[in-house]
């Protein structure tokens, strides 16, 4: 669950600074040459040479880790899904499809999953992949000695994982995972949770080579061995990261020989125009230019689909004046999001009136949201116990950042509150780590500038995680027994249609009670892709995608 803030940071980087430079465009084989001094390794002569290597070049940033068990961030995850893989994966339509498991069966009570592994699957070093490797990998991820921060989030449903995590390392075996034979793996979970399978697409559940890691110890990660379509062939911290085709990959092999990622930064647009990279995001600053059909870059322009994320303003229902539903509603009715989207963001953002984003499983267009209505806003304010400004508690909206100026939307919204309702809101900007700390302690009164992005394609990741009264990330302390009841019921509902309906019912109550003030769903972005690159697709969730890229 990566917050919107990181996305904003990222797009800001794209916009102003635009990451990354430094590709060795004349390197033909991307072998190990990390011993060669960078000055000698690349003479950077033939940038303009038209004989193109079968290599895809892009800007990226340093991944904090290559270890699937340790990943917490999108940068690492995007690379890890190319090097490693698991039982199941997501296709570009975000459906869960078999990966290393060719099929699976779910027991009648919905708690036991029996996975049948594909025949003859191998690690990139040629070793066979067995069910034993899977069991070992899950146990390794759960073991506190490994240092995974989120093993419990992704694997905690599996029987025995919690015991291992909490034992501090004394218990090693996860009894919910059984090896039936070398090609059959049985996983038992605590409740019949339909969304469990979606969690297995996250790297924490990926398979690692037991023998290889036990033999090489901690240094295994310098030359990781996985089952993904690519192999890490070279990594120089802060400089370059190179992937090459894994010839032992079980499926259709990658069409490019390799990927070169520049990690050092640089003005991305300039590098793209100079043919130093094959793909770049387009920030607002360059958007007008590249949208002009007369601009040579215009033919390279592609749409980037929105991320599945919700940007919102959070209310803490324990802290006055937000303990009063009428007050929250008054604020919600007082903001004209359409005007902001239209005039401020030139239609680039899409106002949201519900929680689950369009296109996401469980999205319902029939949720009735709170739309701009000045009269109703005033009415609800009059009804609330905080209608008298002299006795109304001070309101502070906290936003993350170090820029000194809040986001434009926060400013306009507080202006609208002031104009329509005469409510004054102070804006307080704090640095990110501090913001997180206050948010996690649930002590922010009103907060903006962060959002929620889905980690796996299930509405549980929005409704249950954000609004269940006992959830750790229910930062606004929202609690409604009926919502809780619906959420608990949905957890074990096997029929997806019925399950989504339960989530939608809960969603409607949450919206009606103005427990949260939804602002924007993520909207289309723009990117440039060189005409010789085929098959690169932008996806709203991290999925393996480099293997389909072709250079022609």
């Amino acid at each position: 669950m990566i917050t919107k803030f990181k996305l904003i940071l990222f797009s800001l980087l794209m916009l102003i600074i635009l990451s990354c430079g430094g590709n060795d465009s004349n390197v033909e084989t991307i072998g190990k040459n990390s011993n060669v001094a960078p000055g000698l390794a690349s003479s950077s002569e033939d940038n303009t040479s038209k004989t193109r290597d079968n290599i895809f070049r892009l800007n990226f940033s340093d991944p904090p880790t290559f270890d699937p068990a340790l990943v917490t961030d999108t940068t690492s995850a995007s690379i890890i899904v190319e090097i490693f893989s698991g039982l199941v994966t997501l296709n570009k339509e975000l459906e869960i499809i078999p990966d290393l498991a060719e099929s699976w069966e779910i027991s009648e009570n919905g708690k036991t999953y029996t996975f049948k592994l594909r025949e003859g699957i191998k690690f990139s070093n040629g070793d066979d992949v067995t069910a034993e490797d899977f069991k070992w990998s899950i146990e390794r991820a759960a073991n506190p000695d490994t240092g995974s921060l989120n093993a419990e989030v992704y694997l905690g449903d599996i029987l025995g994982v919690k015991e291992v995590v909490e034992s501090g390392g004394s218990i090693k075996e996860v009894f919910g995972v059984k090896v039936i034979n070398s090609r059959t793996l049985e996983i038992t979970i605590d409740e019949p949770k339909t969304y469990f399978i979606a969690k297995l697409t996250y790297p924490t559940a990926f398979v690692l080579n037991k023998e290889y890691i036990e033999k090489n110890g901690e240094s295994w990660i310098d030359n990781p061995v996985g089952t993904g379509p690519f192999i890490l062939s070279e990594y120089q911290i802060g400089q370059t990261l190179k992937l090459k085709k894994n010839i032992n990959y079980w499926g259709e092999k990658a069409k490019v020989d390799g990927i070169i990622m520049n990690l050092a930064g640089g003005v991305s647009m300039a590098m793209y125009e100079n043919d130093e990279i094959d793909i770049t995001g387009v920030g607002l600053a360059d958007l007008e230019r590249v949208k002009d059909p007369n601009d040579p870059l215009n033919r390279d322009l592609v749409n980037v689909p929105p991320q599945f994320s919700l940007n919102y303003i959070g209310f803490n229902v324990n802290i006055p004046p937000f303990d009063d539903v009428n007050f929250r509603k008054a604020l919600s009715y007082a903001v004209d999001k359409e005007i902001i989207a239209d005039k401020v963001y030139s239609g680039l953002t899409k106002p949201s009136y519900s929680i689950i984003p369009p296109g996401f499983p469980g999205y319902s267009p029939s949720i009735k949201g709170i739309e701009f209505n000045e009269e109703l806003a005033k009415e609800y304010l009059a009804k609330s116990k905080y209608s008298d400004p002299s006795t109304r508690p001070r309101i502070i909206v906290t936003i993350p950042g170090t820029g000194g100026s809040p986001g434009l939307d926060t400013e306009i919204i507080s202006d609208m509150w002031n104009e329509t309702l005469g409510i004054d809101v102070e804006i307080q900007q704090v640095e990110w780590a501090t913001y997180l700390q206050d948010m996690n302690r649930k002590r922010l009164q009103l907060w903006a500038g962060s959002g929620w992005q889905a980690d796996y394609a299930d509405p549980q990741d929005f409704i249950d995680v954000l609004f269940y009264s006992q959830s750790d990330v229910n930062h606004g302390n929202y609690s409604n027994s009926e919502v809780d009841k619906l959420i608990i019921e949905a957890r074990t509902e096997i029929d997806n249609n019925r399950r989504f309906l339960l989530y939608n019912q809960a969603e409607q109550i949450i919206i009606d009670e103005a427990a949260i003030f939804p602002l924007w769903f993520d909207t289309d972005g723009f990117a440039l892709v060189k005409p010789w690159v085929k098959g690169y697709e932008f996806t709203p969730i991290i999925v393996p995608k480099f293997k389909d890229v072709e250079i022609k």
């Binding site: 669950m1 640089g266 003005v267 300039a270 929620w452």
Partner: protein, 309 residues
């Protein structure tokens, strides 16, 4: 003099101890927590606390500090919290080398442009050449790098296609030209102003006038009597530039795609990557101490009247 140097150096570890303690205390009592930043929205108090316990972050500050100092004394600066299983030294050294290379080249540009120009302006004090040099150097001094860098990229990489827009290939790669000029030229402007001011002052002093009156040749007066004395304040500034040798410039690095130490310095603060922050702060402090020492030492070479005691 050796005794003096020794006495100065002996203070260094004590100073570093203090610095590290202050950083430690700020880290522990300031807001924000490394585990929390990494967990982001997946934060859960029990889980986070278990991880902190495992990493020793729950120990009292003094215990943590002593442990750190003990390890650091053995040359072990710990592992980054963010970059898993990577030693701080493994993470920082390549970046420090890159930053140092860029800084040395920029410094060389700054000196080789700044000193002659400042000298030139000073000896032409009163003529129209002087304000010309001053205005030009002030112009470059006033240009912020986030303006000059994109401009240079636009002209030299995109329009003229002489160099790639970004990247790093070491000192002998042409990609170093633009960043080195971006950093070096405003640096040169500093030296122009310094040399000019101090030369004018020296040229106006009695002993220079006397030397001239004695009939010492113009060149000898300028070179032997004036220039050496005018160099004193310049040495100070050069020394501090040296102290910043291993520092990175965030903006220059990001715009030109240079894998230096600037970005990781900033990122480590945002992510509360204490081992990395600590190493950078300690290195910076040591560099400052050493640079001060070198400045004092060079003073005695430039000006024989100054003695080390």
């Amino acid at each position: 003099m050796l005794k003096y140097i020794f006495r100065r150096l002996i203070w260094m570890p004590i100073l570093l101890l203090f610095v590290s303690l202050i950083v430690f205390i700020l880290g522990v009592y300031g807001p924000g927590d490394p585990i929390e930043v990494q967990l982001g929205n997946n934060y859960d108090e029990v889980n986070a606390d278990r991880i902190r316990e495992k990493m020793g972050l729950n120990d009292p500050v003094l215990v943590q500090w002593i442990r750190y100092v003990g390890n650091a004394a053995k040359g072990d600066f710990g592992e980054s919290y963010v970059f898993k299983n990577r030693d701080v030294s493994e993470l920082l050294i390549p970046k420090l080398i890159v930053s140092a290379k860029l800084n040395i080249i920029s410094f060389a540009i700054a000196i080789s442009l700044g000193i002659p120009l400042g000298f030139y302006a000073a000896i032409n004090y009163g003529s129209s050449k002087d304000p010309f040099v001053v205005i030009i150097s002030l112009f470059f001094y006033a240009m912020p790098v986030f303006f000059t860098a994109p401009l240079l990229i636009l002209v030299f990489a995109l329009q003229l296609d002489l160099v790639p827009a970004a990247g790093w290939g070491g000192v002998f790669d042409k990609r170093i030209i633009l960043p080195a000029l971006t950093v070096g030229i405003p640096g040169a402007a500093v030296f122009v102003r310094l040399i000019r001011a101090s030369m004018i002052e020296v040229l106006d002093s009695d002993y220079v006038k006397l030397a001239k009156a004695k009939g010492v040749s113009e060149i000898k007066v300028l070179w032997k009597h004036a220039f050496r004395n005018a160099m004193l304040p310049v040495v100070t500034i050069m020394g501090f530039s040296l102290a910043g040798l291993f520092g990175g410039s965030l903006i220059v690095e990001i715009l030109y795609g240079i894998p230096g130490v600037g970005r990781i310095s900033l990122d480590s603060v945002y992510s509360r990557d204490y081992p990395v922050i600590m190493a950078i702060v300690l290195l910076g402090s040591s560099a400052l101490v050493v640079a001060n020492l070198i400045i004092d030492f060079v003073y005695t070479l430039v000006d024989p009247r100054i003695e080390m005691l």
